[in-house]
Amino acid sequence: MNRNLVITGAQLLGGGSADIAIEDGVIVEIGAGPTRSGARVVDAAGLVALPGLVDLHTHLREPGFEASETVLTGTQAAAAGGFTAVFAMPNTQPVADTAGVVEQELALGEAAGYATVQPIGAVTVGQKGERLAELGAMAGSRARVRVFSDDGFCVWDPLIMRRALEYVKAFDGVIAQHAQDPRLTDGAQMNEGIVSAELGLAGWPAVAEESIIARDVLLAEHVGSRLHVCHLSTAGSVDIIRWAKKRGIRVTAEVTPHHLLLTDELVRDYHARYKANPPLRTAEDVTAVREGLADGTIDIVATDHAPHPAENKACEWQVAANGMVGLESALRVVHQSMVATGMLDWADVARVMSSAPAGIGQLQGFGSLEVGAPAHVTLYDPSVPGVFTEADLHGRSHNSPYLGRDLPGRVQWTIHGGVVTVDDGQLVQELV
């Protein structure tokens, strides 16, 4: 099977356009008019060529919650959104807290083929926050785990958090913290503020996130470790990260697409598709996280893709599940919120959605378009207007907050290691 490709006329990040030749899954030439006999020609005129996107925060749900998503359907959603690698959060059943489970996750990803699946290991056994999981075994396994997280739960005990930060230095790992003080968010349903006061929903105060981040950056400084802050959502959190970085603390931070675009005003109809953790915040917070992403305080955008079956959303707000699917919409949301507003250019997008997440997660072979690198490429058409619809969703669950919303742009081609996964706007059903 001939898997050679020549992408013609793609818009490069440094400016100008060029052709990209791919042979056997590797970029072999970038320049004017490379020809490869028998290669398939991909006309990329007017399309932005991005290094294949990398998501540091995906919930694939398998094993255990296959009604919501599987590794196959989740990576299909990823491909549809222009992603070529996803980091799989460990809150599966069983929890990915042993070498066996992370290796299973890795194998499922390899079998699916739509994107590279890099497992994240749990910090504590069963994500219970009590005892460290066998981090070293996961790091030394075939899955080569470097990112550890109890995402969904905060590693709340400061001593456990300190030990985890210290311990992963042995293999240059990083702890990705879900910053949420559980006591300050007991029963919490939405951002605490003007809207929660009216709606009578228990508040999830900004300080419950900020106090944990403040503690953790100080711990990371004290023990000289690497900390990653998941889905930062408040203006105060941006300030703390900015302060910590200025001080030289080794901290990185992510923001989700939905926190770049949506606010808690949307909760007024009690429609659970807007329910997430951390919750949608205020317009001031949205402005602050956009500025933080633009000035480099926030390093990356990560989706927190969180699929749920319809019955877990078509119900009373209070009992609805937290989370939104985000892989298919992420690039378009970043386009709308950051590029169309002039806060980022496409080279910045390549950084915050590909090279920086790959760097934080120490995933080799991703994040750049250069000769000799594996051919992970996303070709994006920024010129088309559009409305986000069910037809854009390719995972098993449809809990997207963007359905019916105007979102510009379209992922026209996704190439994962030389394999075309999105072909001229269509998800490829049978990979070749």
């Binding site: 009578g200 009690y270 078509a314």
Partner: protein, 321 residues
């Protein structure tokens, strides 16, 4: 009126219409035969996911006096987290041909979810949802304040210039939220008096003044003082130290009640914790409207059901207007 989900979205004219129709209903209730044929053949379902005998029998009496058929559906036990979903329950009621659903639910927003989901075409009346709203309680409170103030001359009047003090656990109170919006819409000046722990963290957009000192609020001689029920469990979540301290600082005891002007009324949505938020002297005094509130509740709920089911419905499935 298509649904009654909250008072925040009621405008002054809509609110006065309910109160004036309630006046008509109240008049019929002093007749020997209280029953009207108005809703003959209509089916009203009382869908209660949370126990509330008082509210349920008030709605039941209102519906029956309008000749509607009443089905009481106690969904307690099929709790919100397990068992039958709200969607399945709604679709069951739809299949039975319910014309109106009166819903009481522990989850804030459940009535709106029911009304906007497309699961059911019946009109929805919120009979109290979580810590959100309890619109018929606020309407009966407004009715009671107006009746005490203007008597037989109440029709068409709003509450302009009247000062109402609401005292207690505003944070968890759907009664307080509904009253804040409705009384303000009707022109009253609303003051909240609460422990600082029991008012939402951000009420900057509420049309109210917040005080922590009950004596200061009472010294201003308000027209109505509304005491909210305090749940003793709150004490264990550190909202206040002890019942004794709560009662001392925010309870309406006999001494405090005695400082009020002759014409001031004392209200309570019931059930009361005598000796905690309200003393027996205050609850049983001539200025107490506790039992009038219960009586007026039936008239107000008759008015709501009437407007929902017998009044004009310009669009069968759309929003209220």
């Amino acid at each position: 009126m298509r649904h009654l989900l909250d008072t925040r979205s009621l405008d002054r004219d809509e609110a006065l219409r309910v109160l004036d129709v309630a006046e008509d209903m109240a008049e019929t209730q002093s007749r020997q035969i209280k029953k009207l044929p108005t809703l003959l053949g209509k089916t009203v379902v009382n869908l209660f996911f949370e126990d509330s005998t008082r509210t349920r029998i008030s709605f039941e009496a209102a519906a029956k006096r309008l000749s509607a058929d009443v089905i009481n559906f106690s969904a307690k036990g099929s709790s919100v987290s397990k068992g039958e979903s709200l969607k399945d329950t709604a679709q069951t009621l739809e299949a039975m041909g319910a014309d109106a659903v009166v819903i009481r639910h522990s989850a804030s927003g459940a009535p709106r979810t029911l009304a906007t989901s497309g699961w059911i075409s019946a009109g929805v009346v919120n009979a109290g949802d979580g810590t959100h709203e309890h619109p018929t309680q606020a309407l009966l409170d407004a009715f009671t304040i107006r009746k005490r103030r203007y008597g037989a001359d109440s029709r068409g009047r709003d509450l302009s210039g009247l000062r109402v003090v609401i005292v207690g656990d505003v944070l968890h109170s759907r009664v307080a939220r509904s009253n804040v919006w409705l009384l303000s819409t009707l022109g009253a000046e609303v003051t909240l008096v609460t422990p600082p722990t029991l008012v939402p963290q951000n009420v900057s957009q509420w049309p109210v003044r917040v005080l922590y000192d009950l004596d200061q609020a009472l010294a201003e001689g308000p027209d109505a003082v509304m005491m909210l029920r305090i749940q003793v469990e709150r004490m264990h979540a550190a909202f206040f130290p002890t019942e004794r301290e709560y009662s001392r600082l925010w309870g309406l005891d006999a001494l405090r009640a005695a400082t009020l002007p002759e014409s001031s009324i004392v209200m309570h949505p019931g059930p009361m914790n005598r000796g905690l938020e309200i003393s027996s002297e205050a609850a049983d005094s001539a200025r107490s409207t506790v039992l009038e509130q219960v009586t007026n509740g039936v008239s107000v709920r008759m008015a709501v059901l009437y407007l929902l089911l017998a009044g004009e419905r310009n669009d069968e499935r759309g929003e209220a207007k």
